[in-house]
Structure formats: structure tokens, C-alpha cells
Symmetry: C2
Subunit: 401 residues, 2 copies
Amino acid sequence: MITPDEALELVVRAAAPLAAQRVALDDACGLVLAEDILADRDYPPFPRSMMDGFAVRLADAGTTVPVVGEVPAGSVWEGQVVAGQCVEILTGAPCPRGAEAVVPKEHVARRENFVDLPNPIKPGQNIAPQGSDCRRAERVLAAGQVVTSMAIAAIASFGRASIQARPRPTLGVITTGEELAGPGGPLRPGQIRNSNGPMLAAMARDQGLSAPRHWHVADRLEATVQALEEAANTNIVVLSGGVSVGTYDFVPQALARIGAETVFHGVKQKPARPILLARQGPRLFFGLPGNPLSCHFGFHRYVAPAIRKMSGLAAARRVFQGELALAIESKGGRVRYVPGRAEVSQRSAGGWRVEVLPEASSADIFQGCRANCYVELPAVAHVYRAGEAIGFTWLGREPWW
Amino acid sequence: MITPDEALELVVRAAAPLAAQRVALDDACGLVLAEDILADRDYPPFPRSMMDGFAVRLADAGTTVPVVGEVPAGSVWEGQVVAGQCVEILTGAPCPRGAEAVVPKEHVARRENFVDLPNPIKPGQNIAPQGSDCRRAERVLAAGQVVTSMAIAAIASFGRASIQARPRPTLGVITTGEELAGPGGPLRPGQIRNSNGPMLAAMARDQGLSAPRHWHVADRLEATVQALEEAANTNIVVLSGGVSVGTYDFVPQALARIGAETVFHGVKQKPARPILLARQGPRLFFGLPGNPLSCHFGFHRYVAPAIRKMSGLAAARRVFQGELALAIESKGGRVRYVPGRAEVSQRSAGGWRVEVLPEASSADIFQGCRANCYVELPAVAHVYRAGEAIGFTWLGREPWW
């Protein structure tokens, strides 16, 4: 059976970045650019006043001059500033020809249409020269960069309302299991509620995806095949349950039936040992165990990296180092992943203190409700002391709350 | 003039957590709970088989017994397991009365309707006792906790399709400025594109808010007042531009006109010195400078904490410590905030290496496109050496890419 790292490597190799699309700028924050973004002109596009004040000639410092015009932002004063005159100018407005500095209005005394200018006046003061922030055709962003909110501002400056970017993948969720009921209404004896459907939808949205379409099917081959066929226009299909080798475990069979090729089935890890990856062209199918904790972990460690790779991002999560809050024993055998909570350490600057949340079984998602990370315990038997270094990966996208 | 920390304190005091609402579970991930969540019954709700196998009596270890029934998941076998018999059982199914252990099917030899049981059989093996994960009425989540994806699974287990949670605030954006044009179409001389509108919308969505409604108004009092009146049903209004003391700076006047009370106007910081906070009952109004970088920083440091506090979260961002990648000089006078990029340090485990991105002016959002944080340079003059410790705050919600 392959190791967790070998499995992740196979996931990353199987997932291909999606083809670029034209995306409205309003929907582009967080996406990966698929084009270089060049400045459409110089910025500022003209010598720009940085203050409300008066555009003047340097030689007039210390004298009294008449105000011969006014330039609000968004306007142009077509005349020229000559010696012995000045022009009132607003922040953001283009400095008229001839202007050598802008004197802030707080620094002058104004009497009707005349102003007393200070002395000295520094050349170019309060004027941002044309092109001083950015030159026309300068590459401000490169293909492959993530579009940040500041990048949105830069792109909007250039008059663009859309860009070429890689979309996020679409995801379909198929939960299986005769014993699972939806919310509300009575339960038959032996039934439990379907928790993997809502959980997987939340995990997908946490990764920036649209709400996935959800099918629930009983443990029957035909129903599973039909749901797979209906999910044919999604980039990734996540199935929960039915992935072991039991009488009612129809997921591997159903995937074979639609012609998907198995990449791996089974990983030497706890939880989620029977996890399955299949592919059909560029489409990926993850068969996750039905136990909620196994299902959650399977999405975290294998589905999320596939989503990231398809989105054009670096696939793998970074493994952070923290110090254990309490001692914990690892029995070895399989790599173990346990939900944890990492908080900023009070002891070491920039360090993390990691609490391992106990779980009773691989169905137990109750203890893990506070989790913001998974802690990785290597396959060797080891008794970790409190304060010992431990690796962890962040859940979702909001570790700082 | 107040300091940045005093201003933040005033923001946090002015922002009140929004009233709880009923929220569909599908939309609840990341929100703050406004009720305790109690288990509706024991979990597992019955002694649950953890394997596909045979429910047996311990005394039958090492013997051959007939299979007298089958329990698929979601069903109940009404009989009782007695000595000299066993019942086939599937993962997740309730163990019948009398069953003392489940023997995995891999551990038995089956011949037609008889199985050879191994010896010994451990008491209770592969049976999760009723209530072993969680007891009926146990408090699994408390009001005030963030709803994580694992919490979604727990709540869905209890048959709930909605919860009481604090919604995120709604936000209106009013950009002002005669010189600003929308995307597409020709520009008049002296005009530039409106970049603050798209940027503020992206920053709001980055904080988990719905796309804000956006008004653009010319530098006229009446137009500004009208936009404020149209934005009356939003929790927060962010205005950009028009917040200084110039002839065309109508934002303070317009806020006074609708009866909003100024909390502060002006903060001893660079950029965004003329920033304004006003309030009207529980509604907040932020007047941010029109320069894109000032506007971006104003949202980051003051609007985002207000959003978080209204959402029921801890308001202030955590200040992280990193080491400077390159030397930088701070002239002192005002606290300065510069866009930066923090990356995991190669030198110190768990540490951050912070690159300060140079900016040409407070209109310059081009250098900052790669930023994932703001670096804070205190008000005292100081030459920072490379490697020296420096505080920074993360932008947005995705610092790990």
C-alpha cells in the first residue's frame, strides 16, 4: 500500500491547471492570472498635484501673485503658468504647463484674487511627475500571480473590467449509504443523518469554490453510476462511503463502469485508509470513506491540493512546525492525522502551540469542532513530550481567528 | 491628532456585534454561532459495527456457527444473538441484542451458511458503544465559536438544517471624485479610472461579505447625501475621496447632513492621515482618502476590524513578528504602514521573512500588487537592519499561497 506522501504526489500529478477563461474583475480576487498585465499608460498619466493649493513658478517665491485660473480634479487648464501668475489647483488635477511647484493652500495668505507665496519654494514640490509610479507598458503583474485586492485596483486603473484567469474547478458531491437520511423528518431505526454532504459542501466553499451540486444515493450500483453520469460536467467528483471492499461498496465498480481509471485505492494512513483516486481524462474522482472524520481528512489532504493545482496555485499545503501543548503517544504502524488547534505561542515569538484534540473514533467529529489544523504523527512509535516539535497543516483559509 | 491604536480602539468600541439570525447550514461555515449546539441523541445512537463481519457471542470463539441473519447499515435485526449462532453485519449497522463482538469477515472462513470463528475473540471488538463519541444533550459547540467545516458535520448529524448565527455585515461603497471614470470608453483629459470601487468590493468579499452595492458620485454635496440615503439599509458605508478639508471635500458635510456623528477625523499615520469615522446608531461610516494605497490601508486597518467585530469575531488582527529581508529607514514622526510580502523563513523554524515593497507615492498600488501583509514602522526614526525584527499584519484571508 502506498504512503500518504506517495498518494499526494499522485494527486498532484493527476490534477492539471484548468484552461484560462475571461473572468469579470469583480470575481477575480484570489484567482491566478493567465496573462501579463501591462500598464496602459504612464501613472500618474500627467504631472499630478498631490495637494490642494497653487501651481506656481519658482521665481515668484516670496511675492504676491494673482490667481488666473482654477484646475479641479478631472479637468485640464489649457493655459500656461507664467512668471507673476499662479493657478489654483486641486489634489489629483493635472498641473498646467509651466508649473514648477504646487504650494499648499495652508502655506499661503489669500486676499481676494491674490496670494502671498512663501519663500523658498522647492522645485517640483507636491507634484508627482508623469510616470513616477509606473511607466506605460510596464509589466505590473505576471501570468501565474495571484490576483490580490491591490492588484484589482491596479488592473481597474488600466480601464480593464475583465482578465484572463484560471477558474476554480467545479465540484460534484455524491454521498452513498442506505443508512443516511436528510435533515428534518423522522429517522427509521438504524438510520443516521447525512453529515458528509453538508460538510463537503462547506469544505468546497472554504476553498473558494461555488456550492457543489449534491447527490445522495443508496448502496446500489445503478444509482451510483447514474449520479456519476449526471455529474459529468464537473471537474472533480467527491464520493463518500462505499469505497471499501464490502458487499455494498459499489463506488469502485461504478467508477469502472463509467470508464474511469483507478490511480490508487488504499493509503497507509489513519484515518481514511481505503481512499480511492480515479481519473477520466482531466476529471478526477475521489472515493472517500463514509466515516465523517475520515471523509473530512481525505478532503483536506488530497482533494484540496487537487483544487489548488487545478486553480493554478501551488498544490501542497505548507507543513508548519509547532510545539505540542500536551504529551501524546503515537503507536506507529501507519502515519496518523489528528485534528488539532494551533494558537500563537506565548513562549516563543512567531511560534505555534498545538493542542491535539482527542477523537474517540473515526466517526467522531464532535471533539474536532474546534480544530483549525491537522497534526501529523509519523509512522514510527514515539511518545511525544509536551513542548516537542510537531508538524501541522492549516484547515480552510482562516487560521487567524 | 489621535494615534493609529487610539483610532482602532474607537472603531472597535463603535462596532457592535449584529443580532443573531436563522442561517441555513449551507451558508454557515465561518460564521459565529449565537446558540449552544447540543447533541440530539447519543452518538453512535446504537452499538455500531465498525467493520463488515459477524456479530457473535464470545463463548463461540474457535467454533463453527450458522449465520442466522443479516444487518445492512440503516436496518435493524430484531432478533437476539444467542450462543451457537451469529449474524452477518455491515459497517455502520446497529449490533443486534446479545452481540458481544464483531469479527471482521477477513478473519473467518465461510462455507455456505456457516463460519469458522477465530479464537480468542476480544470483548466488544469492532463495536463502538452507544454514546461513546458523544452523549445526548452534551454541548458540542458553544455560542461564540466559529462554525468550522467539522462543526457543520456535527450540526448536520443532529438533523439541523439551520442555526442561529451572527450574519456578516452588509456594506455599501460610495466612491467620490469628478476625475474618476468607469471601465471602458474614452477618458477625458485629466480623468483617471475608478480603481477604489473594484478594490473595495474585492476587499469586502475577501472578508467573507457579499458583493457590496457601489455608488459613484461627483464632488457635489447633494449627490453624496443622496447616495448616503440610498445606502441606508447597509451596516457599514465606506466612502473614498472627499474626506480632506478642500473646497470639494464634501464627505464630512454630507455625513453631518444625514445626522451621522463624527467619532474621529484624522489619524497620525501615513498613509491615510485624513481618515474619518462617523456613526449613526449602530451604523458606521468610514471616510477613506481617495488615493488608492491610502484607501486600501484604511480598509485593512479600520474597516476590516469593524466587519469582524460586527460578525462576532475578535476585532483586531494579530500582529505577527518577522525578520526584515532588506534594510529600511523609518524617518519617524508618524507611524508608517507599507505593503510587504511575508514568506516562511528558510533560516528560522516557524519564522517569517518580510520583504517591504517600495511604494513611490500614496497613489502607487503597482509596487504593492504582490503584497500579502502590511509592515508597521513605529513613529520613531530608526534605521532597520536586514534581519531585524518587525511587526506585520496579514492581508485578506489567504496568506499561505
